[in-house]
Each structure stands twice: as structure tokens, then as C-alpha cells.
Homo-oligomer: 365 residues x 2
């Protein structure tokens, strides 16, 4: 038997810059021109964002001489499928896109995940850029290169790790963000603060009133920047979610189960907030987290309008069995991310079921 070693150990350059500011499209366009990542760009967005910003964004790009055209798909999680990905790919082909073309995602998580996925598989990979327009996408999905689409059986089943060439985070887009979307993003930011940056918790507490003034999104710049810095640090250490990146699941083990058991009638941000309340209670019950820390964070969640109680009508056993189904699926035990104190999370895989049940019941009272 002959052996040939194919040597492909290489240093790969996948670093990129994330720019955060307000009304930064002009500067973004100059940076895109300088980046020279593609000869021609396709702006991928959904019908909601297109109605609000499509022509304005397109005009700005074009007025600065950038060759770009727009492809739109129907807004909503229901579009996050392989069928939409294929339809966009066929539209790209029909318009003459090739390996020298690039994509620009303009929108929230669905647009970003889908566009990143298409870019990672179109003609074996073309470059893409992100313009995240929701708070959630700005602090979460636009960092880390996770792309994907749902299958009918489960979410995010097909996808890649594929880093964008640059991310342009413009808080100007937040002006038109619905309140539920603010809450989704805020829950994510609070989570980042809890697991890695107690100072950000202080800042959030100080600025709470200012942040809720949706007409003027300027105060979000330092908050979003700081949340992105936390996410960046974790992603850099654990790009492919093999270890450390799991701490980003703080609040998500229970949160996902609640969200699914409620048949997605509870928005993601609210479910994560409930999940964080659960993780805080568990951390205290297991003797890891001081009462005062738990009370302080729970207090802030409530002040920010995020729920810390699970609806009484939701079946406790249903939630538990959903967590265990996930566990069986991964061939592993349920991992809870718990807290010793703000900034000190750890992964615990051995929480007794009775304590989980007690915690959920406690949150329903």
C-alpha cells in the first residue's frame, strides 16, 4: 500500500475588520472600494429591509461608483431554507455572477446567515460583506462566521463557518427597529455582559433610559462596540465552537427549550432572558453564585423590560423533555452554562433533573 501525504497545513488569512458607527455607509463604500474583494457586488436583502432602506443603500453605493445590484427574498424565518438559497444562487447565475463577484448582506440574522451560506457555496465560495440592521445581528450573528439554513426537521442544520471580508455595523438602522427586536438584541448584550464584562452591566444600568429612545440610536455605539469586543474575543479563541464558545450559550439551554415548547410564540430574546434567569437561579442554588449578584442581574433584566418569569401555562415536563431531546441528539449530557460571579461563567454538565424541575417551577410562580 502506497501512502501520499497531501500537505495543506497553511496559515489562512480570514481576519477581518468590523466597523461600528452611525450613518457610516459613505465611509463603508470607500473601504469596500479599497478592499477590492470583488469586481461586482450583489446586495442581498429581504422585503422588509428593502422597503425601508433598499433604494437608499443602493443609491449611495452607486453614487460612489460601486457596481452593485439588489436581490430580494421574502422577509421572515420561513425564508431561511435551502430553497431560498438555491433561488438566490440561480438569480445570481442568471444575472451573470461569477467567482469574481461578491455578496453584501443587508438585514438581520436571517439575511446574514443565508447570504453567508450562499457566499460560502456559490461556485465553491465567493467573498461577502455584512451590513447588519438589527441589534441582534449587530452584536451576535454578524460576528463569528456561522452561516446556515434550516431544514424542516431542525434549525441551522445546513451551514458553514465562513468569515465575511468586513462587517459594517450602522446603528442608524436601529431607528426603525420594532421593540421586540430591541429586546432580542438587548438580551444578547446582557448575556455578553454577564459572562465576560461586568463593567458593561454597569454601563447598561446607567444608560437604560437613553437606550430606549429609539429615535436617537447614537448611545448604542459604545454598547454595541463593547458587546462585539466580547464576542470577538471568544470567537478568536474558539472559531469553530468546540469549547470556550459554548459559554455563549449562557441562558440558551433553557431558553431554547422554552422557545420551542412555546412553539416560537415567545420571541428569542425573551426566551433567552427567561433562560438566563433560570441559569442564575441554578447557579445560586448550587452554591456557585452569591445571592446579591443574582438579585442585581435579575433586577436589571426586569428594569430593561426583559422577562424573568416563564409563563405559567407552559408545561414544565415539556420543557425538560425538549432539553433532553437535544441532549440525546448530540449523544451528550445537557450542558448548563452557570455563573460563579459576573464575568466568571463555567460549563456544568451534571445538574440533577429534580433541580432543573424545581428551578423551572420556581420561575413560573
Amino acid at each position: 500500500m502506497n501512502r501520499i501525504k497531501i500537505n495543506l497545513d497553511k496559515k489562512i488569512s480570514r481576519s477581518y475588520d468590523l466597523y461600528i458607527g452611525k450613518d457610516i455607509q459613505d465611509r463603508a463604500t470607500l473601504l469596500i472600494a479599497r478592499g477590492n474583494w470583488a469586481k461586482r457586488y450583489f446586495l442581498i436583502t429581504d422585503t422588509n429591509v428593502s422597503d425601508l432602506y433598499g433604494s437608499r443603500v443602493l443609491d449611495t453605493f452607486r453614487s460612489m461608483g460601486m457596481p452593485v445590484e439588489m436581490i430580494t427574498f421574502p422577509a421572515g424565518e420561513a425564508s431561511k431554507t435551502i430553497h431560498t438559497a438555491v433561488a438566490v444562487a440561480e438569480e445570481l447565475l442568471g444575472r451573470g455572477a461569477d467567482r469574481t463577484s461578491g455578496l453584501i448582506a443587508l438585514g438581520g440574522g436571517v439575511v446574514g446567515d443565508l447570504t453567508g451560506f450562499i457566499a460560502s457555496i456559490f461556485m465553491r465560495g465567493i467573498p461577502y460583506l455584512q451590513f447588519p440592521t438589527t441589534l441582534m445581528a449587530q452584536v451576535d450573528s454578524s460576528i463569528g462566521g456561522k452561516t446556515g439554513v434550516d431544514l424542516p426537521m431542525a434549525k441551522n442544520m445546513l451551514g458553514t463557518f465562513c468569515q465575511p471580508k468586513a462587517v459594517f455595523t450602522d446603528v442608524g438602522f436601529l431607528k426603525t427597529l420594532p421593540v421586540a427586536e430591541y429586546m432580542n438584541g438587548l438580551a444578547e448584550i446582557v448575556k455578553c455582559a454577564i459572562i465576560d464584562d461586568p463593567g458593561l452591566l454597569d454601563l447598561l444600568e446607567e444608560q437604560a433610559v437613553l437606550l430606549m429612545n429609539v429615535g436617537e440610536p447614537e448611545p448604542w455605539v459604545p454598547i454595541v462596540t463593547r458587546a462585539c469586543e466580547i464576542k470577538k474575543k471568544i470567537v478568536e479563541i474558539d472559531e469553530k465552537e468546540q469549547g470556550l464558545r459554548r459559554i455563549l450559550n449562557f441562558g440558551h439551554t433553557l431558553g431554547h427549550a422554552v422557545e420551542a415548547e412555546a412553539d416560537y410564540a415567545i420571541p428569542h430574546g425573551e426566551a433567552v432572558s427567561m433562560g438566563m434567569a433560570g441559569a442564575l437561579n441554578l447557579s445560586e442554588k448550587l452554591g456557585h453564585l452569591p445571592v446579591s449578584d443574582r438579585e442585581r442581574i435579575m433586577g436589571f433584566l426586569q428594569k430593561a423590560g426583559l422577562p424573568v418569569r416563564i409563563p405559567g401555562g407552559l408545561s414544565t415536563e415539556g420543557v425538560i423533555s425538549r432539553m433532553q431531546r437535544d441532549k440525546k441528539k448530540e449523544g451528550k449530557v445537557v450542558h448548563f452554562v452557570l455563573l460563579r460571579r459576573p464575568g466568571m461563567p463555567f460549563v456544568n454538565g451534571g445538574v440533577p433533573e429534580s433541580l432543573i424541575r424545581e428551578t423551572i417551577e420556581g420561575l413560573k410562580r
Copy 2:
């Protein structure tokens, strides 16, 4: 505007071993156990290969304690679609596959490309191994990590560069290979010899009779090994087909156009052989290649049963316009890989259309 740099420049380990021999499945199984790439494997194959080898391969794996089950899809290029990829992914999910599972491609190019593609997008990427069963897959598609599926509009439009964890090339599978499939692989091997290894041309000339004895594939071991070494060298230098790897297109510019113009009624290997004949004639006409070298290679192609004439009925203008359509699509000029002498190819982008026409007409006489 704030700037955060996401640092992801890392040395990535994507090297892998390619093993070549006859009846090597036992040793392959031990190497897979040692590799420990996955907890559980799914053998992906098509109905043809499954009928011939499915249960034997499965039994051998299982008799050695390897946890593996089989998923089969209909044989043929028509299966190389996103729909098959999604169907296999759903079957994987239904059988409880997760991020700790791995795929094994058992088959020719379609099985390999499709399995590699599924592995690269299932749950954002799981490991895969290759057991190429056709000569073509053994010397070509199993090296280089090109995965993909076709779209109705064009071939290989969706795909990735994704390296397998190991490739096990067993010439034992060649016993049942149809003659047309031998020709496909042989054309590929001759191409490798022409562009990089004149010594392999000598070896092929010496062994021609032995190689055609399909009952005993042992003589293919050194030939396949040498062809793989050529491919390996090129892929290592140019993993993502940005420059050097283009020389692997020797014979393919014209070959692809002939294949398409004949509506795929001409097998790929024969079309490539015709394309190589065209490239050799062009190289000589342009004063790059000595007559004796052209005559020698043309002689060998004919001796090996590979065609060096284009069917008279095929439209010359049709072939030319197909080459130019590709050119427009890529926003570039037609690239011909030409030859100075065996082992010295170069990419020429400026062949006059009149000379291309004359060459095609010449091949039809």
C-alpha cells in the same frame, strides 16, 4: 466610527493521507479506527456501487467493530443535485447523525463530490473519508477537496473546497469498471503525464497491454500512485484553483465545449482526449511544441483507444460559441493550456479565433 479587528489568521491543519493499493479495506479500517475522526460513520454510495460492493464493504467494516450504516441514492449524474444533498442530510438527521458523525464516500466522482459537499455543510461541517471506486475518481476527484452539486443552469455551481480526512484508493474496485469509465480515467492520467511527468508517459506506453486486462488491476497501482503524486503537487501549491491549478485544464477548454455541444453524448474522457489533441495541434501550430512530441502523444492516445478526432457532425461554430460563452460568463478571455514540451505546459489567453476554428476543422477530417 469604531474598528474592531477579528483576528482569525491561523495555521489550519487540513493535510491528509492518501493510501493506494489493492484490496486494502482491512488496513483502511484500522487506519480509520486510529484516526478517530468520528464516533459513528455513514457510508454514502449510489445504487450501482451498493449493488456491487455495498454489503461486502459494510460487512468488512462491521466485522472489525466499526459503527457504520449505509445511505444510498440513485446512480448517475442526475443525482448530483442539491435535492439529493438535502435528502441525504434529512436521512442523516433521521438516523440521529450529529456533529460527532462522519461520512464515507464509496463510489465515483458523483458520490465523492456529493458526499464531500454534504459533509462540508451538515451541521456546519463534519469529517469525511473517500473510497473512490472509478479510475477517474481515484486519480482526479478524490484529490483536491473540490466538492459540489449541479444546478439546472450549470454544473458544479454550488460547492465548497473541503478536504477529506483520508482517501483510500483501492484498485480492486476497478475489476468491475466499464470500459468507458476506464477511458475517462486514462484520459485524465495521460493529461497528468503530459503536463508534468513525461516518465509516466513512457510507463503508460510500456504497460498499455497489461493495463487493459481488467481482470487484474494490480498494474494500476504504480500508475495511479504516480498520477496522484502529480495532482497532489499541483493542489498543494494552489489549493483553491487560483493560478497554477489551471494547468490541470489541459485539454479541457475544447474538451468541455465538445462535450456540451454533443449534449453529453460523448463521454468526458473521450471529450478530454479530443481536447488534448486540439491543444497539442494548437501548440504545434503556434510554434511552441516540436512536431515529434505532438506525433508521439497523439500516437499513444490512439494506441490506448482514446479518440483524437472530433465527430464530423459536430458544429464547429457551436463548439466555438460554447467556449466563448464560458469566457463571457467569467468576464475573461478563453484560456488555453498549451504545451512547450511534455512536462512544460503554460496558459495562453490570446489564441486567435481563426486558428481555433482551423484546429477544430482539422480534427474533424
